[in-house]
Symmetry: C2
Subunit: 213 residues, 2 copies
């Protein structure tokens, strides 16, 4: 009885096709301007079918967010590949995060949007669940990196890997978001500031505060 399995597979394929379509529309028109009708049309399904696979629009965001997190995670893995010391990996990951926000700005925006949103439906959707899982995986990755830094003596031995990971995450997020903010609203151009330089400077400060001296 392989029918159930085949149906499962088909369901997943259709889901992915819908997410593809949603990305298409959302990335080209913006999150707000994208309509479910257009997503349905691009996905070549009726609107009703979309709602068979996703509870609501927000649920689609979750799915996209989840993809973005996976992508980010992969970029982190790649960033540390050829780097020996834990402390140097921290910097590499920070830069990778910043790269991600530029190269995959579409994903980045979708992710920030989700993060800053109250989340009306208190979603217990599998996609929201997936986001949390991916997020935790990224944090675990950071914690392991810091653990390694402590072990290879390049980072302070009194650091708590998990907590320090979260702090790095939060602080980097803040700096990168500040730059993204400057993009929409004025803010940066007004007083003319090179945000790229500022982000690297902030990474330096963070790394400095973690170094084992």
């Amino acid at each position: 009885m392989g029918i159930a399995e085949r149906k499962e597979r088909e369901k997943e394929q259709k889901q992915n096709a819908i997410i593809d379509a949603a990305e298409n529309v959302i990335f080209s028109k913006g999150l707000e301007a994208a309509t479910m009708d257009e997503i349905a049309e691009v996905a070549e399904f009726s609107k009703g079918t979309i709602y068979l696979y996703f509870r609501n629009k927000e649920d689609l965001y979750f799915a996209i967010h989840s993809r973005g997190l996976q992508l980010l995670h992969k970029m982190f893995e790649k960033a540390i590949k050829n780097i020996e010391k834990g402390i140097d990996q921290v910097l590499a990951v920070g830069k990778a995060y910043y790269d991600f926000s530029k190269v995959h700005s579409d994903y980045y925006k979708a992710m920030v949007y989700y993060d800053c949103h109250p989340g009306k439906a208190e979603s217990d959707s599998p996609f929201a669940e997936q986001c949390n899982l991916e997020g935790e995986n990224v944090l675990k990755f950071l914690a392991m990196m810091i653990q390694k830094g402590i072990e290879d003596k390049t980072m302070r031995p009194d650091l708590d890997p998990v907590k320090t990971g979260i702090i790095l995450w939060g602080q980097s997020m803040g700096m990168i978001q500040l730059r993204a903010m400057g993009d929409h609203h004025d803010f940066a151009d007004h007083m003319n500031i090179d945000f790229e330089e500022l982000i690297y400077k902030s990474f330096d400060l963070m790394v400095e505060s973690l170094k084992n001296k």
Copy 2:
């Protein structure tokens, strides 16, 4: 001919009354759930009148955001009042920011919402302008504090006050937002983490990296 002046005053009063009503509705129902119709009703104006004073819903957010920034600025001023050394003021301001996010969480949420939003209408509204101005004032305040820290030898002399101010702002913002994120989405409760402790730890790290040793 004091009529023009009186009308100007009345206009401002009405504007403020509408912002009051908007806060009422938005703070009790949430940003998304609040409708212009209800805001109009609470403000005791017709909907059309609201649109006479504000271009659109977003414009009302700007107005609220601006109030929030002013409040935050005042809390910053108060926080450093009885503190001598620049480096200690940095910590005090960080704590004040965190306090603000808890005590005035309504304003905080509105502000984050605005910051994370692409801003569809590329608003050149006076309210958006005001937000930028207030934001710059806060940054100037931070820069002056750091300047003072450099002068009183409690902070590293090689720091650029403005740039360092922006970095402090961004990093603190990131940490505080991370905590707020944990409020809507799970994230924090899942792995049980005391975010308050984490925020203070991150402040310590920041302060440490700025100290003159």
